[in-house]
């Protein structure tokens, strides 16, 4: 089947001359602009034709409606400029090449004044960009373990269990910040040039290579992070806690707690389950078990080696119910465990390349640390 319509990403709103040239090039290839959306433009198959396209900017905000006044459109059409489509502040007019439709503006300073709303939209973009960059820097410092703020620690925690996703969010932040700053720069430059009387270039040839390369690299990185995230998502699984354990976790039977599986505040299925996920840094088993009136939570992290496990220990401690750091725990000496700490309801152990984190509120039964040590 021959397609008679197509969609393309169009140049950004600030690239006015590029937008005009883009539509002209498409028309020359036999694709006539039908509709402009926020990011995509729709084209329909037509005879290849040389056409002129011109962008007219709306000067009103989205709040008041960015459509051009009817009178203005009527006037342009009387002069031979046919209105095609509009989205946000961009309105597109066209005239056949060689028609006597006069150039819309003779005076670039006057055209510069129509950039009022476009400039307003992007104004302050650098503030948002700055916030994004600060968040990114915070994240990097947090991940590197150079900050011990709650937020930084939370990011580090997210990094451990969901590397790809954190990377993806950070890169998207980066990309948005970059895009906002670049847009603001381009608009300011175009406005300055037009105010000085330099007419708008309707078919610019400048390729803006540095920007293109930087932008492509960023998108490539976002793509990679996206693939990693997707892999993490697909490879993670959860299932009912099996009767025969098949992971490095403990089961309440090891504690001598036998009986019927129960649900506490939640269904039996939700209180007896295993979630396994894999990040670039570790594999995590998140296990819940509830037998009779005993509830046991476990997070078991498998790192590639002991050093890595030690490096992330402090971060994993932030999951504690009643403690902020290892200082709130008591060091326990147990044979078979490299390190063991007991808190009020939480227990942490390092054994080889594993970190075990238990939460057990019931004091009547044996400590998970001892069970773990005895299993070694």
């Amino acid at each position: 089947m021959k397609m008679n319509r197509t969609y393309r990403f169009h140049p950004a709103d600030y690239a006015i001359g590029e937008t005009e040239k883009f539509y002209e090039d498409m028309a020359a290839k036999g694709w006539q602009l039908v509709k402009r959306g926020l990011y995509l433009s729709r084209f329909e198959k037509a005879e290849p034709e040389k056409r002129r396209y011109r962008v007219e900017l709306s000067t009103t905000s989205a709040f008041d409606g960015t459509e051009l006044p009817e009178e203005q459109i009527a006037l342009y059409e009387e002069c031979g400029w046919q209105f095609v489509t509009g989205a946000s502040v961009i309105n597109v007019f066209t005239a056949a090449e060689g028609s006597d439709a006069p150039e819309i503006y003779q005076d670039s300073t006057q055209q510069a004044d129509t950039m009022k709303q476009l400039r307003r939209i992007y104004r302050g973009g650098w503030v948002i960009a700055l916030i994004m960059v600060v968040l990114d820097v915070l994240a990097v410092l947090g991940i590197a373990g150079l900050l011990d703020w709650k937020l930084a620690m939370d990011i580090r925690k997210a990094w451990i269990i969901g590397t790809g996703l954190v990377l993806l969010v950070m890169l998207l932040y980066n990309q948005s910040a970059f895009r906002l700053l670049y847009a603001e720069y381009r608009i300011a430059r175009l406005y300055r040039q037009m105010k000085k009387g330099q007419p708008l270039d309707h078919s610019p040839n400048k390729k803006h290579w540095p920007h293109r390369i930087a932008s492509s690299l960023m998108w490539a990185a976002i793509g990679v992070a996206g693939v990693i995230s997707l892999y993490q998502l697909v490879s993670s699984e959860h299932y009912l806690l099996p009767t025969e354990k098949e992971g490095p976790y403990l089961v309440l039977a090891d504690f001598g707690v036998e009986g019927e599986r129960k649900g506490m505040f939640r269904s039996v299925e939700e209180c007896n389950r295993v979630e396994v996920s894999q990040s670039l840094i570790c594999k995590v088993w998140d296990v819940r078990e509830c037998v009779e009136d005993v509830m046991l939570y476990q997070d078991i992290y498998e790192f590639k080696d002991r050093e890595t496990a030690y490096r992330y220990l402090e971060t994993i401690v932030t999951d504690s119910t009643f403690a902020d750091s290892l200082d709130d725990y008591q060091l326990v000496e147990l044979e078979g465990l490299d390190l063991a700490y007991a808190g009020r309801v939480d227990y942490i152990a390092v054994k080889e390349n594993y970190i075990y984190f238990f939460t057990l509120a019931d004091k009547k039964i044996i400590s998970p640390l001892e069970v773990l040590a005895s299993k070694s």
Binding site: E71, Q72, A74, L75, E78, C79, P102, E103, I104, T114
Partner: protein, 106 residues
Amino acid sequence: MAENSPMTEAMYYILLALLKPAHGYGMMQRITELSRGRLHMGPGTLYGVLTRMKKDGWIVLNSEEDRRKTYSITPAGKDALLAEYERLKHLVDDGKVLEEEENENE
């Protein structure tokens, strides 16, 4: 738009064109005539200037049928146009020295 600052060429010709009520496209044709084919005013320029002058009370909406609006000049607009005409005439008169100089050189 300060009353006594020089007008742009577009403003001057639009006011001239509006000595007789006209709608947008008619104005542009008249401007081309008035300038003896020298000026082909674009609709963007025209629309921008009309909006400004309407706000300043130099022109007024006469009638509106369908999407087509007819404008005419107001007394204030006419005063401004006359003042500008006088100013331009002075400029041209003052420039006469140039011709004298040219003649002497010949």
